[in-house]
Structures are given as structure tokens and as C-alpha cells.
């Protein structure tokens, strides 16, 4: 476990303004792409592990 030590002269303060419909739409497109890629990588990883396990059992 580690800490993110912000510099002493930096104050991390966020005040967000509402995102526009267009911004939210574009963000969701990008987010869904990234989520799909992540899901695809996870599925491939699981498939590889399953195949390896089956090969081990067969051997």
C-alpha cells in the first residue's frame, strides 16, 4: 500500500460543472469502447487459462 503525497504547495480541490449532453454522449462512447476492450482482454485471458488447464488435465 502506498500514499499519493500531493506537494505541500498543491491543493487538490475539484469543483465540477455539469457536463453537457454532447460531452456526456461522447464520453460514454469512449467509456464503452474502453470497457469493451477491457472485457475482451479479460475473456481472452480466461479462455487462455481454461485452455491451459484443459491441456494440463489431458497430459
Amino acid at each position: 500500500m502506498g500514499l499519493i503525497r500531493e506537494p505541500k504547495n498543491v491543493d487538490f480541490t475539484v469543483k465540477s460543472t455539469p457536463w453537457t449532453e454532447e460531452e456526456l454522449r461522447d464520453f460514454r462512447i469512449l467509456m464503452n469502447e474502453l470497457k469493451s476492450k477491457k472485457l475482451l482482454r479479460t475473456k481472452v485471458f480466461i479462455r487462455q487459462r481454461t485452455t491451459r488447464s484443459r491441456k494440463k488435465v489431458a497430459a
Partner: protein, 174 residues
Amino acid sequence: MKKRRQKGLDFVIDKLTNSIENTATGEVFDTEVVQLRNTDLKQIHKADWQFDWTKEIKDKTKEVYKLTTANNPTIIQGLISIEDKQDHIFMHLIESAKFNKNKDKVYLGVPGNLVAFACKVSVDKGYQGFLAFDAKTALIKHYQDTLFATHFRGLRMFIETNAALQLISQYFKS
């Protein structure tokens, strides 16, 4: 980290344990993140805060959480206001207590701790850690470096899955 389980697969996060560091001694203190509700309004002294946290707590679309040290749950180290956008978490406000601001800040790690918590909420809700927020222009690079955040456009930024998992693993004991 403590989770209160409900029926089925759903669960409510009522308390999480992690840590912040005393700037003078380097001592690390365990912390807790607890939700503030309407009944907790008296815990907020308006003069101590830059933002109107009472308004945030009263807003039913938002959830406000306080960060305290585990051994002193009455002193608020920082606050965060988040909203469940159904496919990601949106961070409306985040603020450190006034004694955790400027060069004389007492503790380091308060905002990072709260952002990691928001990422954990996103993961727990099945949003794969996605967290969106606005940054001040001068801090965009800082957030990219420290929070592994991605610059979307203008002041808009977001934290994606890998960055969220990295932050969570940095802050939360497994």
C-alpha cells in the same frame, strides 16, 4: 475495510479503512470514509469550508463522504461529493479541511485517499472504476501524473479501469 452485506449480491459500503500521513512526523494514520446524511449536518461548520457542503448533503442525487482518522472520527480531514451516473461515478466536489491546505497542511494524502474511495465505489457498483470530474487547467498534468487520470477535453478528465485499480491498490489494504 468493512462491508455490510445485504440480501443477494448487493452490499453497502459504510466504512473503509486506509491511511494519511502527518507532514511533520511522517507518521501514518489509519482513516475511515463514512457517508454524511441529513442527520449529520451539524458536523459541517460552514466557515471551515470553501464549498457549500450542506447543500451537497441535502441534494438527494449526490452522496457526500467524510474522511477522518480512525482514532478521531469527529475531526473531518476531507470531504467528497459524488453522483451515481448509472454507468460511471461523477465527482462533483472534493475538498481538504482547511488545516490540510496550503504549505502548512497537517496531513498528506487526503484527496488521493478520497479519489481512491470514489474509484472503489465505481468498481463496487460494476462501473469498472470509471470516475469523471473537472480539473483546474493548472492541475490537469498533476492529476495525470498522480491519479493516472485521462484528459478528455477542456477541463474534463476521467479515471479508467486500470488507473482506478492502481489507485485502489495503493490506498486500500487487501
